[in-house]
Amino acid sequence: MTSRELILGRLRAALGATPTTPEAVARSYRPAGGAVDLDVLVHRLTDYRATVHRCSDGEVAQVVDAVLGGRRVVVPPGLPRRWLPDSVEVLTDDNLPTAEIAAADGVVTAAAVAVAETGTVILDAGVDQGRRLVTLLPDVHICVLRTDQVVAGVPDALARLGPDRPLTWISGPSATSDIELNRVEGVHGPRHLHVVIVPA
């Protein structure tokens, strides 16, 4: 007998010959489809120490210049080039060695979805967001978000996303509460998160 058969047999025995029929799950919590309030998103992002910039698509390059001008920046292969100022040294991630990504000063990506209520930006590893490690190793992450990517709550976000891609939900910069349960920003992930919100 394999352990698989053993465990499944134990569980069936534990439930008995006539397992109780599970009750229907009452989902009376707020469903997807709530109104999106961009101000809530900005408040929640700022509250968790992300820096928020609101500008036109044409002004993104200026923001990148102000934050990372003169530095080395990793970008995913599908990132719109118009977002990158001439002042940054661009490293396009076409399978760059890990050490090279770790040595970069910052990373610029797009996003897949953002959740206003929780101040969360979600990346789904699309071509303008890149492999998971590019947004992990550099110390500064600039994430460009379109307003039509913002949803009200967590149920809306899951409805827009799927299991076929790896997902990274980001709510503020890397942080810890392990020392006396006080939140401290800046452990292993990027210590600086900039969210640039542009009109759709």
Binding site: T2, S3, R4, L6, I7, L8, G9, R10, L11, R12, A13, A14, L15, P19, T21, P22, E23, V25, A26, R27, S28, Y29, R30, R44, Y48, N95, T98, V115, E117, G119, A125, R131, R132, L133, L136, V154, L158, G162, P163, P166, L167, W169, I170, S171, G172, P173, S174, A175, T176, S177, D178, I179, E180, L181, V184, G186, V187, H188, G189, P190
Partner: protein, 484 residues
């Protein structure tokens, strides 16, 4: 051997893992209670997190509806556990992962050790995981010559301090910043001797210390917060980014998961991703949540193993009252509100699962005889039930386990316990009016013997170790009534 015998639900084996303490709770608790520094650290930390959690829960208008949905989804999971596990296995395998089944801690440790050996690596990096602490994986790997590096800040503090974890969420909750600074100065190679006890400085020291490990270790071991049966997706919630490092950078990822961590569908995550952060760290959302389904070509580990762990869970499932302990999502809200935990800390519980949930989960995983004192490590005040985001009725399970323990004592001993004799005598006395009145008069005589709170003489002294004996009144109600 008959099939029925083999299929019997089994408790976690002895001699492996960290589910059993070395001494009963009252003995260990007495030592913790005498540690003033520990009590200060715990009091400060639990008060902080209670306030944070209450504030973000207040922001959500449908908290009770979310709790109710969480409870119902987990009830459904337990009722359909065999079929959902089989569904998960199919989905993970289809997405390029390999599923392993571990009946107990010994088997799980062997599976993980063999998988690490097969990679040729002699070091693994770990994301904080209750399941791997439960089975004693680090000790098993060490015995096999494999170094296990804990990467969660609190776990690192515990590991460097050669200490034991004392809280589900914040294993180093019993340490304050000054103590953490001392541990880092003593144990962290190459640390700046000018290190201060500022939390941000301490966190930066951990960042530098672990960076090389993250970039050079080829194998990682993680736990899982959720697994979606329908899609084979696994989720890990964390704060620091050490989880993302372990889930993204190595070639091989091994995830050890208790079989109860399932949710049926993708959409079910919407309930738990709202409940967990607010109940746990008191955040609207934790800084990082990673979700992955099998292997993604060109992104992250190209080899993924999922180890499904029983280790006593089938025995918990067999108890219709106690099985709701398997609904636990390890948020630790019940620890933070518990008046017992706040005073004794986690070490007193012996098991890796401390606090109210530990007091119901550990005895069920091991069999109540191996953790017999834990169901009594509670005042039954019910704060844990109110705080639980999936509405586990911990007080009812505690009472249920106490009854089990008493029944087991009765069947194992020819003579009844002193408590049982006393209770039987009290019941008889209360049933007979002349006896009861005589007993009241006798009790009044005790007013003149010894000081208040002095306790009962042996063999009844056990009752008054932790309880004040009430002062009998000068006049009983019956006497007062008779005079009117």
């Amino acid at each position: 051997m008959s099939e029925i015998f083999l299929g019997m639900p089994a408790t976690a084996p002895r001699g492996v893992g960290n589910l059993r303490g070395d001494e009963p709770f009252p003995v260990a608790a007495r030592r913790s209670l005498a540690d003033a520094q520990l009590r200060r650290n715990l009091g400060h930390a639990t008060a902080t997190i209670r306030a944070k959690s209450a504030a973000v829960i207040d922001e959500v208008p449908d908290w009770q509806e979310l709790r109710e949905a969480g409870r119902a989804i987990k009830t459904d999971v337990m009722a359909r556990l065999p079929e959902l596990l089989a569904q998960l296995e199919v989905a993970v395998t289809a997405a390029g992962g390999t599923v392993h089944w571990a009946a107990d801690a010994v088997e799980a440790n062997r599976i993980v050790t063999d998988l690490v050996r097969a990679t040729g690596s002699d070091r693994v990096m770990k994301v904080k995981s209750m399941a791997t602490q439960e089975i004693g994986l680090n000790e098993a790997l060490e015995a096999a010559g494999i170094e296990a590096v804990e990467t969660d800040l609190a776990e690192l503090i515990v590991q460097l301090g050669r200490d034991k974890p004392s809280h589900i969420l914040v294993p180093a909750i019993h340490r304050n910043r000054a103590e953490i600074r001392e541990i880092f100065l003593r144990e962290m190679p190459g640390v700046d001797p000018a290190l201060t006890d500022e939390p941000a400085i301490l966190a930066a020291a951990a960042r530098r210390h672990l960076r090389r490990t993250f970039l050079s270790t080829r194998v990682a071991v993680s736990g899982a917060n959720f697994a979606v049966a329908e899609t084979g997706t696994l989720a890990v919630v964390e704060s620091e980014g050490n989880g993302r490092m372990c889930l993204t950078l190595p070639d091989t990822l091994i995830t050890v998961m208790g079989i109860e961590k399932l949710v049926p569908t993708w959409a079910d995550l919407e309930v738990f991703l709202q409940l967990l952060p607010r109940a746990s760290t008191g955040e609207r959302m934790n800084p990082y949540t990673s979700m992955w389904t099998g292997v993604t070509p060109g992104d992250g580990p190209q080899e993924f193993h999922l180890v499904l762990l029983d280790n006593g869970r089938s025995a918990v499932l067999a108890d219709e009252v106690g099985r709701q302990a398997l609904h636990c999502i390890r948020c630790s809200a019940c620890l933070n509100v518990c008046p017992v935990y706040e005073r004794t800390g986690g070490h007193a519980y012996g098991s890796v699962y401390p606090g109210p949930i530990g007091a119901v989960l550990s005895p069920q995983l091991t069999g109540v005889e191996d953790n017999a004192s834990l169901p009594y490590a509670s005042s039954l005040c019910g704060a844990c039930f109110d705080a639980c985001p999936v509405m586990i009725d911990i007080p009812s399970i505690l009472v249920h386990l106490r009854a089990q323990h008493t029944a087991a004592y009765r069947s194992d001993h020819r003579l009844p316990s002193a408590e049982a004799v006393t209770m039987a005598a009290a019941a008889y006395t209360m049933d007979h009016r002349p006896l009861y009145e005589a007993a009241q008069r006798a009790a009044r005589a005790s007013r003149f013997v010894g000081r208040r709170g002095g306790g009962l003489p042996p063999p009844l002294s056990g009752w008054t170790i932790g309880r004040d004996l009430p002062q009998p009144p000068p006049q009983t109600f019956r006497e007062w009534w008779a005079q009117r």
